[in-house]
Amino acid sequence: MNAPSASAPPSDRELADALRRGDEQAFLALVDAYNPSLLHVAMSYVSSRAIADEVVQETWLGVIRGLDRFEGRSSLKTWIFKIATNRARSRAVRERRCVPFSALASEEVEGSHHAVDPDRFFPADHDRFPGHWALGPSLWETPEEGALSSETREVIRAAIEQLPPAQRLVITLRDIEGWAAPEVCDALELTDGNQRILLHRARTRVRAALERYFDAVELTV
Protein backbone atom coordinates (compact mmCIF):
# COMPACT_ATOMS: atom_id res chain seq x y z
CA MET A 1 0.00 0.00 0.00
CA ASN A 2 1.37 3.43 -0.89
CA ALA A 3 1.88 5.87 1.96
CA PRO A 4 -0.43 8.88 1.65
CA SER A 5 1.30 11.96 0.21
CA ALA A 6 2.87 14.26 2.77
CA SER A 7 0.66 17.17 1.72
CA ALA A 8 -2.73 15.46 2.05
CA PRO A 9 -4.01 14.04 5.33
CA PRO A 10 -5.03 10.36 5.09
CA SER A 11 -8.59 9.67 4.05
CA ASP A 12 -10.88 7.84 6.42
CA ARG A 13 -10.49 4.74 4.27
CA GLU A 14 -6.69 4.90 4.42
CA LEU A 15 -6.83 5.48 8.17
CA ALA A 16 -9.23 2.64 8.82
CA ASP A 17 -7.11 0.32 6.68
CA ALA A 18 -3.96 1.37 8.53
CA LEU A 19 -5.63 0.75 11.87
CA ARG A 20 -6.90 -2.64 10.79
CA ARG A 21 -3.33 -3.50 9.79
CA GLY A 22 -2.26 -2.77 13.36
CA ASP A 23 -0.48 0.48 12.50
CA GLU A 24 0.30 1.83 15.94
CA GLN A 25 1.45 5.26 14.73
CA ALA A 26 -1.86 5.76 12.98
CA PHE A 27 -3.71 4.77 16.12
CA LEU A 28 -1.69 7.11 18.33
CA ALA A 29 -2.12 9.97 15.88
CA LEU A 30 -5.86 9.45 16.04
CA VAL A 31 -5.87 9.28 19.83
CA ASP A 32 -3.79 12.44 20.17
CA ALA A 33 -5.95 14.29 17.68
CA TYR A 34 -9.31 13.47 19.22
CA ASN A 35 -8.64 12.94 22.89
CA PRO A 36 -9.12 16.56 23.99
CA SER A 37 -12.43 16.85 22.17
CA LEU A 38 -13.64 13.48 23.45
CA LEU A 39 -12.87 14.64 26.94
CA HIS A 40 -14.92 17.78 26.43
CA VAL A 41 -17.83 15.74 25.16
CA ALA A 42 -17.65 13.33 28.09
CA MET A 43 -17.44 16.21 30.56
CA SER A 44 -20.68 17.65 29.27
CA TYR A 45 -22.52 14.47 30.25
CA VAL A 46 -20.91 13.24 33.46
CA SER A 47 -20.27 14.86 36.75
CA SER A 48 -16.52 14.54 37.22
CA ARG A 49 -13.25 14.66 35.31
CA ALA A 50 -12.29 11.23 36.66
CA ILE A 51 -15.44 9.67 35.28
CA ALA A 52 -15.00 11.54 32.00
CA ASP A 53 -11.48 10.09 31.72
CA GLU A 54 -12.93 6.61 32.15
CA VAL A 55 -15.57 7.28 29.51
CA VAL A 56 -12.86 8.38 27.08
CA GLN A 57 -10.74 5.30 27.76
CA GLU A 58 -13.80 3.10 27.23
CA THR A 59 -14.51 4.94 24.02
CA TRP A 60 -11.08 4.15 22.60
CA LEU A 61 -11.40 0.52 23.64
CA GLY A 62 -14.76 0.48 21.91
CA VAL A 63 -13.17 1.98 18.81
CA ILE A 64 -10.49 -0.73 18.77
CA ARG A 65 -13.03 -3.51 19.19
CA GLY A 66 -15.35 -2.00 16.61
CA LEU A 67 -12.77 -1.31 13.89
CA ASP A 68 -13.56 -4.43 11.92
CA ARG A 69 -17.19 -3.38 11.79
CA PHE A 70 -16.56 0.22 10.70
CA GLU A 71 -17.97 0.41 7.20
CA GLY A 72 -17.30 4.04 6.33
CA ARG A 73 -20.98 4.99 6.09
CA SER A 74 -20.27 7.94 8.36
CA SER A 75 -16.92 9.65 8.79
CA LEU A 76 -14.45 8.04 11.17
CA LYS A 77 -14.68 11.12 13.37
CA THR A 78 -18.47 10.99 13.60
CA TRP A 79 -18.33 7.26 14.32
CA ILE A 80 -15.82 7.73 17.13
CA PHE A 81 -17.82 10.55 18.66
CA LYS A 82 -21.06 8.58 18.50
CA ILE A 83 -19.36 5.82 20.48
CA ALA A 84 -18.27 8.47 22.97
CA THR A 85 -21.70 10.05 23.35
CA ASN A 86 -23.33 6.64 23.79
CA ARG A 87 -20.85 5.68 26.50
CA ALA A 88 -21.15 9.06 28.19
CA ARG A 89 -24.93 8.85 28.13
CA SER A 90 -25.07 5.37 29.70
CA ARG A 91 -22.50 6.38 32.27
CA ALA A 92 -24.49 9.52 33.08
CA VAL A 93 -27.62 7.43 33.55
CA ARG A 94 -25.73 5.07 35.86
CA GLU A 95 -24.42 8.07 37.78
CA ARG A 96 -28.01 9.25 37.80
CA ARG A 97 -27.19 12.50 36.03
CA CYS A 98 -29.96 11.82 33.58
CA VAL A 99 -30.35 15.04 31.60
CA PRO A 100 -29.70 14.18 27.98
CA PHE A 101 -27.55 16.59 26.00
CA SER A 102 -30.41 17.31 23.62
CA ALA A 103 -32.49 18.58 26.54
CA LEU A 104 -29.66 20.80 27.71
CA ALA A 105 -29.24 22.18 24.21
CA SER A 106 -32.97 22.88 23.87
CA GLU A 107 -33.00 24.71 27.16
CA GLU A 108 -30.01 26.81 26.27
CA VAL A 109 -31.33 28.08 22.94
CA GLU A 110 -34.60 29.17 24.51
CA GLY A 111 -35.38 32.45 26.08
CA SER A 112 -34.42 35.97 25.19
CA HIS A 113 -30.78 36.78 25.02
CA HIS A 114 -28.88 40.02 24.78
CA ALA A 115 -25.38 39.84 23.40
CA VAL A 116 -24.61 43.09 25.22
CA ASP A 117 -26.40 44.76 28.14
CA PRO A 118 -29.18 46.89 26.54
CA ASP A 119 -28.17 49.81 28.77
CA ARG A 120 -25.02 50.14 26.69
CA PHE A 121 -27.15 51.52 23.81
CA PHE A 122 -29.31 54.58 23.33
CA PRO A 123 -33.03 53.65 23.19
CA ALA A 124 -34.81 53.10 19.87
CA ASP A 125 -36.68 56.40 20.22
CA HIS A 126 -33.61 58.49 20.98
CA ASP A 127 -33.76 61.55 18.74
CA ARG A 128 -30.11 61.63 17.67
CA PHE A 129 -28.62 58.14 18.02
CA PRO A 130 -31.40 55.56 18.22
CA GLY A 131 -30.07 52.07 18.95
CA HIS A 132 -26.45 53.20 18.82
CA TRP A 133 -23.72 52.58 21.32
CA ALA A 134 -23.86 54.86 24.36
CA LEU A 135 -21.07 53.13 26.25
CA GLY A 136 -19.05 51.67 23.44
CA PRO A 137 -16.27 49.13 23.15
CA SER A 138 -12.65 50.35 22.96
CA LEU A 139 -9.98 48.48 21.11
CA TRP A 140 -8.10 45.92 23.17
CA GLU A 141 -4.36 45.92 23.30
CA THR A 142 -3.67 42.23 22.89
CA PRO A 143 -0.09 41.10 22.44
CA GLU A 144 1.19 39.12 19.50
CA GLU A 145 -0.01 35.54 19.28
CA GLY A 146 1.84 33.24 21.61
CA ALA A 147 2.56 36.06 24.03
CA LEU A 148 -0.83 35.80 25.73
CA SER A 149 -0.42 36.21 29.45
CA SER A 150 -1.38 33.30 31.65
CA GLU A 151 -3.78 35.72 33.31
CA THR A 152 -5.66 36.26 30.06
CA ARG A 153 -5.83 32.51 29.53
CA GLU A 154 -7.21 32.15 33.05
CA VAL A 155 -9.93 34.73 32.35
CA ILE A 156 -10.96 32.78 29.27
CA ARG A 157 -10.87 29.40 30.99
CA ALA A 158 -12.96 30.72 33.86
CA ALA A 159 -15.45 32.25 31.44
CA ILE A 160 -15.77 28.95 29.59
CA GLU A 161 -16.17 26.99 32.78
CA GLN A 162 -19.07 29.21 33.78
CA LEU A 163 -20.93 28.66 30.54
CA PRO A 164 -23.93 26.36 30.62
CA PRO A 165 -22.95 22.89 29.33
CA ALA A 166 -24.26 22.91 25.75
CA GLN A 167 -22.79 26.35 25.05
CA ARG A 168 -19.53 25.29 26.66
CA LEU A 169 -19.28 22.21 24.49
CA VAL A 170 -20.10 23.98 21.22
CA ILE A 171 -17.64 26.83 21.74
CA THR A 172 -14.98 24.37 22.82
CA LEU A 173 -15.35 22.16 19.78
CA ARG A 174 -15.69 25.06 17.30
CA ASP A 175 -13.29 27.69 18.58
CA ILE A 176 -10.81 25.80 20.77
CA GLU A 177 -10.62 22.50 18.92
CA GLY A 178 -11.31 24.02 15.51
CA TRP A 179 -14.10 21.75 14.32
CA ALA A 180 -16.23 22.83 11.37
CA ALA A 181 -19.89 23.60 11.99
CA PRO A 182 -21.28 20.53 10.17
CA GLU A 183 -18.99 18.24 12.22
CA VAL A 184 -20.34 19.68 15.48
CA CYS A 185 -23.93 19.38 14.27
CA ASP A 186 -23.28 15.78 13.28
CA ALA A 187 -21.55 14.68 16.46
CA LEU A 188 -23.95 16.42 18.83
CA GLU A 189 -27.10 15.93 16.73
CA LEU A 190 -27.80 19.65 16.63
CA THR A 191 -29.51 21.59 13.89
CA ASP A 192 -27.40 24.16 12.12
CA GLY A 193 -29.51 26.96 13.63
CA ASN A 194 -29.23 25.70 17.21
CA GLN A 195 -25.50 25.14 16.89
CA ARG A 196 -25.15 28.75 15.79
CA ILE A 197 -27.36 30.05 18.61
CA LEU A 198 -25.32 28.15 21.20
CA LEU A 199 -22.08 29.39 19.65
CA HIS A 200 -23.35 32.96 19.56
CA ARG A 201 -24.42 32.96 23.19
CA ALA A 202 -21.17 31.40 24.32
CA ARG A 203 -18.97 33.76 22.31
CA THR A 204 -20.80 36.84 23.56
CA ARG A 205 -20.28 35.78 27.15
CA VAL A 206 -16.60 35.12 26.66
CA ARG A 207 -16.13 38.45 24.86
CA ALA A 208 -17.91 40.20 27.72
CA ALA A 209 -15.62 38.53 30.25
CA LEU A 210 -12.57 39.70 28.32
CA GLU A 211 -14.01 43.21 28.04
CA ARG A 212 -14.43 43.36 31.81
CA TYR A 213 -10.88 42.10 32.27
CA PHE A 214 -9.41 44.63 29.83
CA ASP A 215 -11.70 47.27 31.31
CA ALA A 216 -12.15 48.58 27.79
CA VAL A 217 -15.27 50.70 27.48
CA GLU A 218 -15.72 54.36 26.63
CA LEU A 219 -18.48 56.91 26.41
CA THR A 220 -19.43 57.59 22.81
CA VAL A 221 -20.79 61.11 23.33
Binding site: H40, I64, G131, I156, D175, R203
Partner: protein
Protein backbone atom coordinates in the same frame (compact mmCIF):
# COMPACT_ATOMS: atom_id res chain seq x y z
CA UNK B 1 -29.79 53.10 2.01
CA UNK B 2 -32.85 54.56 3.77
CA UNK B 3 -32.60 55.18 7.49
CA UNK B 4 -35.30 52.57 8.12
CA UNK B 5 -33.16 49.96 6.47
CA UNK B 6 -30.03 50.93 8.35
CA UNK B 7 -28.71 48.45 10.84
CA UNK B 8 -28.40 49.75 14.37
CA UNK B 9 -25.56 48.93 16.76
CA UNK B 10 -27.81 47.06 19.12
CA UNK B 11 -29.04 44.84 16.29
CA UNK B 12 -25.57 44.28 14.90
CA UNK B 13 -24.31 42.71 18.12
CA UNK B 14 -27.15 40.18 18.00
CA UNK B 15 -26.38 38.98 14.47
CA UNK B 16 -22.61 39.10 14.45
CA UNK B 17 -22.25 35.31 14.64
CA UNK B 18 -24.34 34.82 11.50
CA UNK B 19 -22.07 37.37 9.82
CA UNK B 20 -18.84 35.70 10.90
CA UNK B 21 -20.22 32.25 10.06
CA UNK B 22 -21.17 33.50 6.59
CA UNK B 23 -24.74 32.34 6.97
CA UNK B 24 -26.19 35.82 6.69
CA UNK B 25 -28.37 36.61 3.65
CA UNK B 26 -26.69 38.98 1.19
CA UNK B 27 -29.04 41.89 1.86
CA UNK B 28 -28.38 41.80 5.61
CA UNK B 29 -24.70 41.41 4.95
CA UNK B 30 -24.72 44.63 2.93
CA UNK B 31 -26.54 46.42 5.74
CA UNK B 32 -24.03 45.05 8.23
CA UNK B 33 -21.05 46.19 6.14
CA UNK B 34 -22.63 49.59 5.50
CA UNK B 35 -23.05 50.13 9.21
CA UNK B 36 -19.48 49.05 9.91
CA UNK B 37 -18.22 51.70 7.50
CA UNK B 38 -19.99 54.35 9.58
CA UNK B 39 -19.47 53.12 13.12
CA UNK B 40 -16.06 52.83 14.79
CA UNK B 41 -17.59 51.28 17.90
CA UNK B 42 -19.13 48.41 15.99
CA UNK B 43 -15.83 48.00 14.15
CA UNK B 44 -14.21 47.67 17.56
CA UNK B 45 -16.87 45.17 18.61
CA UNK B 46 -16.34 43.00 15.52
CA UNK B 47 -12.59 43.21 16.09
CA UNK B 48 -13.05 42.14 19.70
CA UNK B 49 -15.15 39.18 18.64
CA UNK B 50 -12.44 38.14 16.18
CA UNK B 51 -9.79 38.52 18.87
CA UNK B 52 -11.88 36.45 21.28
CA UNK B 53 -12.10 33.67 18.71
CA UNK B 54 -8.35 33.88 18.02
CA UNK B 55 -7.52 33.67 21.70
CA UNK B 56 -9.78 30.64 22.08
CA UNK B 57 -7.98 29.02 19.16
CA UNK B 58 -4.63 29.49 20.84
CA UNK B 59 -5.51 27.61 24.03
CA UNK B 60 -3.68 24.36 24.45
CA UNK B 61 -5.35 20.96 24.53
CA UNK B 62 -6.19 19.15 27.75
CA UNK B 63 -3.42 17.01 29.12
CA UNK B 64 -3.60 13.29 28.57
CA UNK B 65 -2.02 11.04 31.16
CA UNK B 66 0.93 9.02 29.81
CA UNK B 67 -0.27 5.86 31.59
CA UNK B 68 -3.68 6.13 29.94
CA UNK B 69 -1.98 6.57 26.59
CA UNK B 70 0.28 3.53 27.24
CA UNK B 71 -2.71 1.46 28.26
CA UNK B 72 -4.42 2.26 24.98
CA UNK B 73 -1.31 1.29 23.02
CA UNK B 74 -1.24 -2.04 24.87
CA UNK B 75 -4.92 -2.62 24.13
CA UNK B 76 -4.40 -1.76 20.48
CA UNK B 77 -1.39 -4.09 20.20
CA UNK B 78 -3.32 -6.84 21.92
CA UNK B 79 -6.14 -6.48 19.45
CA UNK B 80 -3.84 -6.24 16.42
CA UNK B 81 -1.82 -9.29 17.50
CA UNK B 82 -4.87 -11.43 18.05
CA UNK B 83 -6.23 -10.96 14.52
Amino acid sequence: MSTEDEMRCRDLVEVITDYLERTMPAHDRRRFDAHLRECPYCRAYVEQMRQTIDILGSLGPESFSPEARRELVRAFRGWADSR
